[in-house]
């Protein structure tokens, strides 16, 4: 049991790092912007559908990823416009986009619920110079780790720029944004665009790694991402030195570790999700000790 869990660690780490991109996107909306964004359930598969369809059409892996990211950004823009200009509630704006994206994703795949990438096709992880250079076992891990590292550094950098401060302010205290003579609606839209771009990128990477796109891959994506964000933030609450981006990435890995552990537990397959839930609860309970806040006047 334990040995089988240990054997799966590399794969689990890979999956955790891929989903960490999703978690970073959700960190932007949930943790920073304080916006519950359900678009994610639609933009995650959007990225996968776009990337897979383009690869099957002969595009290179990087252009396919780029296209997926841009379309994800567009999805976020739509959610933002619906919320800000049409004044629809945050949660419902996401629901509207997520629902619309289901049909859009089906159109992108030409009506098919499942797309398969043949082994001979070039993806980010196969049949390209870098992938061929790396040893087979480390291929996915190295590439995915590099991606997440790059994204993390970019995000950390962004969040410490003026624009990043403004984004953080928008989620922290809208009134301050207004008093800075900035339109808080526009800031929110920008945040949604960036977040969904990341989410779609995550879906695209996943599909290139799995060599398959399946229409239901979006179901529960928001929950998965949120769980990763919350686990990560909770685990590192006491350690001020650990940046939120790092915490969230580790949170995604921990999430996948819980799932892998539940599978290797050897309990009835029906109970797997219950075991996963119990593991989350344990982790959150471990991190939840009352903080002493300074008394406010």
């Amino acid at each position: 049991m334990l040995s089988s869990f240990v054997a799966t660690l590399p794969s689990t780490l890979e999956q955790g790092l891929i989903y960490a991109v999703l978690a970073l996107g959700l960190m932007l909306t949930y943790a920073i912007l304080d916006f519950p964004d359900l678009t994610v359930d639609g933009s995650f598969p959007l990225g996968g559908a776009v990337s897979t369809s383009l690869i099957l059409a002969g595009w290179g892996p990087l252009p396919a990823l780029l296209a997926a990211t841009l379309l994800g950004a567009l999805a976020g823009l739509c959610t933002g416009l619906i919320h800000v200009k049409l004044k629809v509630r945050a949660l419902f704006s996401g629901i509207i986009m997520m629902t619309a994206l289901y049909s859009i994703n089906l159109r992108i795949t030409g009506g098919l619920s499942l797309l398969s990438i043949p082994r001979s096709q070039t993806t980010l992880f196969r049949n390209n110079p870098l992938a061929d250079f790396l040893p087979v076992d480390l291929r996915v891990l190295v590439i995915v780790f590099s991606i997440i590292l790059l994204l993390k550094l970019l995000l950390d950098g962004f969040l410490s720029t003026r624009a990043g401060y403004l984004l953080r302010a928008a989620g922290d205290n809208e009134t301050v944004v207004t008093s800075l003579a900035r339109d808080k609606g526009n800031v929110k839209i920008a945040g949604l665009v960036l977040a969904n771009a990341l989410v779609a990128l995550s879906g695209a990477i996943l599909c290139q790694q799995q060599r398959m796109f399946e229409i239901s891959m979006g179901t529960g994506a928001m929950v998965l991402g949120l769980a990763s964000v919350i686990i990560g933030i909770n685990l590192f609450r006491k350690l001020e030195l650990v940046r939120t981006t790092t915490a969230v990435i580790i949170g995604a890995i921990v999430y996948k570790l819980c799932v892998a552990f539940a599978i290797s537990c050897g309990l009835s397959p029906m109970d797997m999700k219950l075991v996963t839930a119990a593991l989350f609860l344990t982790i959150l309970a471990l991190g939840a000790r009352p903080r002493k806040e300074k008394a406010n006047a």
């Binding site: 410490s160 300074k294 008394a295």
Partner: protein, 257 residues
């Protein structure tokens, strides 16, 4: 500097709760004036500020700031020239960001929110000095999160943040009401200092009649959407607390407050 011309504002028009707050309200504020506005609950003092800042629209009338008609301007556009300090200390600062980050954020108000560093390292000394002037020890707590500060400290930070930018008009919305007496005194002192040094035009709504008398060069008392007392300069200086209190109690009893 600022003119409110024939403002009409009705809350919940056409419903059972219809309330005509301002029928035909006009006010003229000169450049450099510091007006204290007092009045009973429901007299319209906070609504006046909201109308001024743009958080609520008017039904009729005009608002003119320095010759420009701002009646239709959105709240955040008006914020370029009007700074507002709220009663709730939490509204003026970002709780999850540090004191330094808050200051840096405010300092970017008139700059482009682009990808340049959020905190300009060369300015940290300047921020420190401004915070030191508050006398609250905040210059040594630059990395503390604003949310961990006391109400008085947060309000002081909010004031200092507005000081960073040259503004024309300062709106103070009962900004000492939620503070303990000592903090309130400190904040009022700071406010006074800021207004006189910066030669700002300011309008302060307060429920503290003493502050209203001690600070500012014009006193306005509102009742049911109308100014029933308006004294400036020497007339205001001559006012005594007891007189004002008497008028105030009279109108309060009338309204059943």
């Amino acid at each position: 500097m600022l003119e409110l011309q024939h403002i009409r504002k009705i809350y919940n028009p056409g419903t059972v709760r219809e309330l005509c707050l301002f029928e035909d309200f006009s006010l003229s504020v000169g450049k450099g004036e510091f007006i204290s506005v007092v009045g009973s609950n429901g007299s319209g003092k906070t609504s006046l500020l909201n109308i001024l800042c743009g958080s609520i629209p008017v039904d009729a009338g005009r608002l003119v700031l320095d010759g420009t008609d701002i009646t239709r301007q959105k709240e955040h556009v008006r914020a370029r020239r009007i700074a507002r300090i709220y009663q709730n200390p939490a509204l003026g600062t970002c709780a999850k960001m540090t004191i330094l980050e808050n200051m840096a954020l405010a300092d970017s108000k008139y700059k482009r929110m682009n990808l340049r560093p959020g905190t300009d390292k060369t300015q940290i000394g300047r921020y420190r000095q401004m915070l030191a002037e508050l006398g609250l020890g905040m210059e040594n707590m630059l990395q503390a999160r604003a949310g961990s500060l006391s109400g008085g400290q947060r309000q002081a930070l909010a004031l200092t943040m507005s000081r960073l930018n040259p503004i024309d008009f300062l709106v103070l919305d009962e900004h000492t009401a939620a503070l303990d007496p000592k903090a309130a005194e400190i904040i009022m002192r700071l406010t006074h200092q800021m207004v006189t040094e910066g030669k700002l035009t300011a309008i302060m709504v307060t429920h503290n009649l003493r502050f209203a008398l001690d600070y500012g060069d014009r006193l306005l008392m509102l009742h049911q959407g109308q100014a029933i007392l308006d004294k400036s300069g020497p007339d205001k200086a001559a006012l005594r607390l007891e007189d004002v209190l008497q008028i105030f109690n009279q109108i309060s009893i009338e309204c059943g407050n």
